[in-house]
């Protein structure tokens, strides 16, 4: 899952990026509103973590612009403004969730998963596909009830495919969702992860659509 983190405080930004990467998210971090606007126009993200008190372009203005462009990307506001009025204004201006600083990394990750789940039209926290079951919170997977050990990026790749069975994701799209800026993408990595997943979960789970990308068939 690829996340854009918009946070002007260097310490908080660095810590959130580090923590979320440990949780298997691909995180891009920008420190001001204009950079965030540029990044959102140029790249595809699954979710935005937005601080409100940003230099150059405030978080709320950024959110308004985003929604004015008919973008439906999930947005979680991260802010120190904690009055009820602030929360209401934030949620009403188009945010999906509102997290007040100081916050807990695990809670933030859980909220990100919850927002992503709702966005994917699921209510159940676990993703089930045929015999495969994924637990996004615990980063664990099982096949026919038996636990299967997956590397973080294998897990992220499988999540991306299972969220929308039947739709094809290109290699570039998958890479985008797996890697944040500054993270080295080696060639063939997607193939390596797909290979690993097929070995662990069965060869017919992930289909290769030649010249286009990968998909899991509709169940």
């Amino acid at each position: 899952m690829r996340i854009l983190l918009v946070e002007d405080d260097p310490m908080i930004g660095a810590s959130v990026r580090e923590g979320l990467r440990q949780d298997g998210f691909a995180v891009d971090w920008v420190q001001d509103g204009v950079a965030a606007d540029t990044a959102l126009a140029a790249e595809t993200y699954d979710l935005v973590l937005l601080d409100l008190g940003l230099p150059r372009l405030s978080g709320s203005t950024l959110l308004e612009r985003l929604r004015a462009r008919k973008s439906d990307i999930p947005v979680i506001i991260l802010t120190a403004r904690d009055t009820v009025d602030d929360r209401i204004a934030g949620l009403d201006s188009g945010a999906d969730d509102y997290v007040v600083k100081p916050f807990d990394l695990d809670e933030l990750a859980a909220r990100i998963r919850a927002v992503a789940r709702r966005r994917a039209g699921r209510a159940a926290p676990r993703i089930c596909y045929r015999d495969v079951e994924l637990d996004p919170a615990g980063h664990s997977a099982s096949l026919c009830g038996d636990p299967v050990s997956l590397a973080p990026r294998e897990f992220a790749l499988l999540m991306a495919l299972l969220e929308r069975p039947g739709s094809v994701l290109s290699r570039a799209q998958l890479e985008e969702r797996l890697y944040g800026w500054g993270e080295e993408v080696e060639s063939n990595t997607i193939e390596v992860y797909v290979h690993g997943l097929r070995r662990k979960l069965g060869t017919d789970l992930i289909r290769n659509v030649r010249g286009v990308g990968y998909m899991v068939p509709k169940a």
Binding site: M11, E18, A80
Partner: protein, 435 residues
């Protein structure tokens, strides 16, 4: 303590009493004199009424005691000096007196006498002084008593009027006294006398200023609490990353981050305290002369180690012994903040200079660096509390320049942000010309 009531009462009652007594006394004297004139007129009239009578000497029966008390005595002498008429026989009557009015004495009484020569006869009318005086005193007393009675009445009226007049003041004092310490709305007394308006106006403007100060403080506390969230949020995240660290090297890295977070939070708190100390409205103008040169040397020495660590060339450029009146500790904080800012923002191997001197007689201290500078459109905003320049990559409290401005304001000094020739920033603090 002086009392308006006492002053008014003394100032009004003393004249009322003194004036009343003087008026009564004057009335008494005037009435008595007037009575004397009147009695003299009577004497004269009686004398004239006797001038056409003819008299035969014949014995007169003795008079009663009451008659003796009040009586006029009429005596008439003929041309030869023979007494031809005596109205009654007093034991002693005055003898022949000079014409006109005169005072005579007999062994047992004093007399007022009128004597006139008419057609060869001398007519003389006498009245005992004692009787005259008693009648005059009665008359005078009757005239002056009402005035004397008026004195206590006037005093009572003065007392009441003074009390009434001062009542709005008492009411105002009660209204102020009853106030809660946070009730700062304007005083609006009912039926306020015009004389109280300036006092109430001043009180109201003081209340308004107090309210503004309180509001500033309240907002400051709110802002401060709000701003503390950021370093605390960083601390929480950094602590969590320490917990999550899987191996020693990542734990060491996370701990180093956590330590930096603690340092930052500490610095924010220290800056807040410094600012809180500068905020009080009381302008400590004047003060003792502070030598800016020695101040600059002290601050540069203080930051020498930090600058050396970053490989920054920190030193004093232009120096002159300049004295400005002020608070040395506060000016130290001001200069230390400017140098701290410069050292933080200048890239490694940069230069930071502190200059002290006079330009056309105006004392200044300036800190210049060859760092990234501050964009023109942000130069006003950097003095706002908690404002941080975007993309500086420096973790600060956002309070440094607020503190600088606060202290400069207290000293009446102006701060200017200028471009340094060759790139960088000059922060110049100019002190007011000595008058």
């Amino acid at each position: 303590m002086s009392s308006i009531r006492r002053q008014l009462l003394i100032g009004l009652l003393v004249p009322v009493f003194a004036g009343g007594i003087a008026a009564a006394a004057w009335t008494y004297v005037a009435a008595r004199d007037e009575a004397g004139v009147l009695f003299d007129y009577h004497l004269e009239q009686i004398a004239w009424s006797m001038r056409d009578r003819s008299f035969q000497r014949r014995p007169i029966p003795p008079h009663s005691a009451a008659e003796l008390e009040n009586d006029f005595v009429i005596q008439i002498w003929d041309r030869g000096g023979v007494e031809i008429y005596l109205s009654r026989s007093h034991a002693q009557v005055p003898g022949l007196s000079p014409p006109g009015f005169s005072n005579q004495r007999t062994p047992d009484a004093a007399w007022r006498v009128f004597s006139a020569q008419v057609r060869g006869r001398v007519i003389q009318v006498a009245q005992p002084q004692r009787v005259r005086q008693r009648l005059a005193a009665d008359l005078a007393l009757r005239a002056s008593v009402p005035i004397a009675l008026l004195i206590p009445l006037l005093a009572a009226i003065v007392w009441i009027v003074v009390g009434r007049g001062l009542a709005p003041l008492t009411a105002l004092a009660r209204a102020v006294g009853k106030r809660h310490s946070t009730a700062l709305e304007s005083l609006e007394p009912k039926d306020m006398p015009i004389e109280l308006a300036p006092l109430v106006g001043e009180l109201n403007s003081l209340l308004a200023r107090l309210g503004a100060t309180l509001e500033t403080q309240r907002r400051f506390v709110a802002d401060a609490a709000h701003e503390l969230r950021t370093p605390l949020a960083a601390l929480q995240l950094q602590a969590q990353l320490v917990e999550r660290a899987a191996d020693d090297s990542s734990r060491a890295a996370a701990l180093a981050e956590l330590r930096r977070g603690v340092e930052r939070a500490t610095r924010v708190v220290e800056q807040l305290l410094t600012l809180a100390r500068q905020v009080p409205e009381a302008r400590t103008a004047g003060g003792t002369p502070v030598d800016l040169e020695s101040l600059a040397q002290a601050v540069v020495a203080e930051f020498a180690a930090l600058a050396a660590e970053k490989g920054i060339d920190l030193g004093i450029g232009r120096a002159a012994s300049v004295l400005v009146p002020g608070d040395r500790d506060a000016l130290h904080v001001l200069l230390a903040n400017l140098v701290d800012n410069a050292v933080r923002h200048v890239p490694p191997a940069g230069v930071v200079d502190v200059d002290v001197g006079r330009d056309q007689g105006v004392a200044f201290v300036a800190v210049s660096d060859n760092g990234p500078g501050i964009p023109g459109d942000e130069r006003q905003r950097v003095f706002e509390r908690f404002y941080r320049v975007a993309g500086s990559g420096v973790v600060g409290s956002g309070l440094g320049l607020s503190i600088v401005r606060e202290i400069a304001d207290r000293h009446g000094a102006a701060i200017a942000l200028e471009d340094r020739s060759g790139g960088g920033l000059v922060v110049r603090v100019t002190f007011p010309r000595r008058t």
